[in-house]
């Protein structure tokens, strides 16, 4: 009988084609919203967590307190892309127009300026707080003056003092004035310690040298330069660069990072939005590490690299913008290690807080989960609206088909059969809406991830269509359809055959 009911229901849907499709459209929109939001949301979550996994859950990030801690969170690609940085960056002078808007993800060059090279290099990292070369020196001075000098963590002592740590390294960042052969301006300089480069090259996108070498010693003024910055500044291996008034030699140029195309695309489109900020900044006290790790620090194209050992000796405020990454041995108790690290930091007189990748990942996962729930709830409202539309259609259908119901009853249909007929009818429309919504949601998700990946700073990622999502959506759409038709179906089943037959 079920098959016959389905046939009858299909027949009915086909005979009221326009209205049926409009009703199905309502369900389709709701399901599309649910599917696309959930699959993208899960995809983002998995992509972010994968980045943490790549970095390793055995990592602890030690960020310096106060301004330094916040700065650490924007260490790589944060300031220029997300808005004005704190500290040094906000102290920069107003723009004179040398900054080229829209090129926030890459070095921008102008033909005007006051530098010795005749061109002003105004990197995107500085964002809205673009500056003039005329004010370079004073800006740098102001920037340095505004940051507090704090000690750099002695990683060797830390490894010695805290059992369960196997590797440690420091990483810092600052904004410097740079004079190159082709351009000059402000640029972010990243200052990894030698031990950091050895232990955690993946955090710097592998730190793959395309030409030249990596740092050869800690006493010479050597600089390794990102691929895009090298092009903008017009330098090659062996060339000289002036960084904050100090002469440096370019010893190596990095290979372009994987994030280049994605990030530049996002920057060009102006779509670098606040979502990542929302993810990384809503985790409160661990925002620094979260931002650092979530973004993967894979875009090395716009940075200069100077060894921290050298940077600290050249720039007194360098310590303020540094943080430390340590790796734990397998099987150690994280809480215990964290306590010991805190004790050692206190002993070293360093004001810093250790945060484990596990904590950051859990916090981000929680935040993403919450966002996902909110989005799914909003999408569910659309689905419910579709259900109400379906109920309206079914109610109207019962009114229109009153005579038909009377006929069915006259030829022996039981109340339950009449009810089942209408339930299958509405359930089928819900299911059709669900299937089509699933397909459309899938298509939208694939396009959505192409756009959102770069915008969220997680590179390219795939939407996730778990079996639970697919089966759940199909079952839910049928159930919503059937439930929406339940009351009209019940009404239909209770109709008196004589009255139903008398209906016009």
């Amino acid at each position: 009988m079920t098959l016959h009911l389905i046939k009858l229901a299909i027949n009915n849907i086909r005979s009221r084609r326009t209205r049926s499709w409009l009703t199905i459209l309502g369900v389709l929109i709701g399901v599309t919203a649910v599917v696309s939001l959930l699959s993208i949301g899960t995809g983002v979550e998995q992509a972010v967590l994968q980045q943490f996994k790549d970095i390793g859950y055995d990592i602890i990030v030690i960020t310096s307190g106060g301004a330094g801690r916040a700065f650490a969170g924007r260490a790589m690609g944060g300031p220029g892309l997300d808005g004005p940085p704190d500290g040094a960056d906000t102290a920069l002078p107003e723009s004179n127009g040398a900054f080229v808007p829209g090129q926030t993800g890459q070095a921008a060059t102008t033909t005007s300026g006051t530098s010795s090279t005749g061109r002003t290099f105004s990197p995107g990292q500085i964002g809205a707080s673009s500056s003039t070369t005329a004010a370079n020196s004073s800006a740098t001075a102001a920037a340095q003056a505004s940051t507090r000098a704090e000690s750099v963590v002695d990683t060797a002592a830390l490894l010695k003092a805290v059992p369960g740590l196997v590797e440690a390294g420091n990483l810092g960042t600052r904004v410097v004035s740079v004079d190159g052969p082709s351009a000059s301006g402000f640029l972010r300089v990243t200052t990894p310690s030698l031990s950091f480069l050895t232990a955690f090259p993946s955090i710097l996108g592998g730190f793959k040298i395309a030409s030249g070498t990596t740092f050869t010693n800690t006493t010479e003024n050597e600089v390794v330069i990102g691929a895009r910055s090298a092009g903008s500044l017009g330098v090659n291996v062996g060339d000289a660069l002036t960084v904050d008034g100090n002469e440096f030699t370019v010893v190596g140029i990095l290979a372009p990072s994987k994030a280049t195309s994605a990030e530049s695309s996002a920057a060009a489109n102006g779509t670098r939005n606040g979502t990542t900020r929302a993810v990384t900044s809503t985790v409160g006290g661990i925002s620094g590490g979260a931002s650092l790790l979530a973004r993967g620090m894979t875009n090395t194209d716009d940075s200069l690299f100077v060894l921290q050992e050298r940077a600290v000796s050249l720039w007194s405020s360098q310590a303020a913008n540094s943080f430390t990454i340590v790796r734990m041995a397998t099987g150690v108790k994280v809480a215990e290690v964290m306590t010991n690290i805190s004790a050692e930091l206190a002993a070293q007189g360093v004001k810093a807080t250790p945060v484990s990748v596990q904590q950051i990942a859990a916090s981000i996962q929680g935040t993403l989960g919450m966002i996902e729930t909110v989005l799914a709830s909003i999408a569910a409202v659309a689905l419910i609206v579709g259900g109400v539309g379906l109920m309206n259609t079914m109610y109207t259908s019962v009114l229109e088909r009153t005579r038909e119901i009377g006929i069915l009853k006259a030829v022996g249909a039981r109340d339950g059969q009449v009810m089942a007929l209408f339930l299958v009818d509405s359930g089928l429309m819900g299911l059709i809406g669900g299937v089509l919504g699933l397909v459309l949601g899938g298509v939208l998700s694939f396009f959505g991830t192409r756009l959102l990946g770069p915008a969220l700073g997680v590179g390219s990622f795939q939407p996730v269509f778990g079996a639970t999502l697919i089966v759940g959506v199909l079952v839910a759409s049928f159930v919503i359809g059937a439930l929406s038709g339940a009351w009209p179906a019940w009404r239909a089943s209770r109709l008196n055959p004589v009255e139903a037959l008398a209906a016009e």
């Binding site: 009988m1 098959l3 005979s15 006929i407 009853k409 006259a410 039981r414 109340d415």
Partner: protein, 231 residues
């Protein structure tokens, strides 16, 4: 045999009480053509609905071969309609979006008969009413007479012993009406009990049993054998 014993049926039309039947007592014999006549509003159709379990009496009892139809549950009444009775209506009452064949096979499908069996029997029934070549047409593509024959085929599909026809020729021209009458009479010859509500004197002339209703009461009852009914 259908027996009505002191049957009352009251409807509420808005705030108005309509006494459709007022103490009807009558017996309709088996395997005969029974005709119920009377002016509009006399309760003819109501009597037919009670006989076919489409409705229940407000008071009194309706028996069919010893079964008290008023005592049946909703499901019991549905089963009775499915298995023991076939309806033919003045307005044909075919489902408009189904073909003639599907209209005819529906009663079998509602009884969970296999689709192949339902299809075969529906085809046989349509052939019996000379509509085998029109089986894939929807009602809107059929003439009134053809639609009524489809309705008759549907009423016969379950091989019920009782056929109830409410003004079966009311929407048909004279010639088609006569054809339908012949069809109904042939059913009686095949052993069916046929009860027809009509204004058509030609059908009345063919009746084995004639019941005349007026104002919800039996005004007269006669059989071709001269037996008088109770009023």
């Amino acid at each position: 045999m259908i027996t009505f014993h002191d049957v009352y049926k009251t409807y509420l039309m808005g705030e108005t009480r309509v006494e459709a039947l007022q103490g009807v007592t009558v017996e309709l014999p088996e395997r005969r053509l029974a005709v119920i006549m009377g002016p509009s509003g006399s309760g003819k159709s109501t009597l037919l609905h009670l006989a076919g379990c489409l409705d229940t009496p407000t008071r009194g009892r309706v028996h069919y071969n010893g079964t008290d139809l008023g005592a049946l549950s909703s499901r019991g009444r549905a089963d009775f309609r499915a298995q023991s009775v076939g309806f033919v209506f003045q307005k044909f009452n075919l489902i408009p979006n189904l073909t003639a064949l599907r209209n005819v096979e529906i009663p079998l499908l509602l009884q969970n008969k296999p689709a192949s069996e339902a299809r075969k029997r529906a085809l046989d029934a349509l052939t019996a009413v000379e509509l085998g070549d029109r089986m894939h047409h929807r009602p809107s593509k059929l003439s009134g007479g053809e639609q009524q024959r489809v309705a008759i085929a549907r009423s016969l599909i379950n091989d019920p012993k009782l056929i109830l026809a409410d003004e079966p020729t009311g929407n048909l021209d004279t010639q088609t009406g006569q054809r339908i009458l012949l069809l109904l009479k042939s059913l009686v010859e095949k052993g069916k009990t046929v009860v027809v509500v009509t204004h058509n004197p030609e059908i009345a002339a063919s009746a084995d049993t004639l019941v005349l209703l007026r104002d919800g009461k039996v005004e007269s009852f006669s059989t071709s054998h001269g037996k008088e009914g109770r009023v």
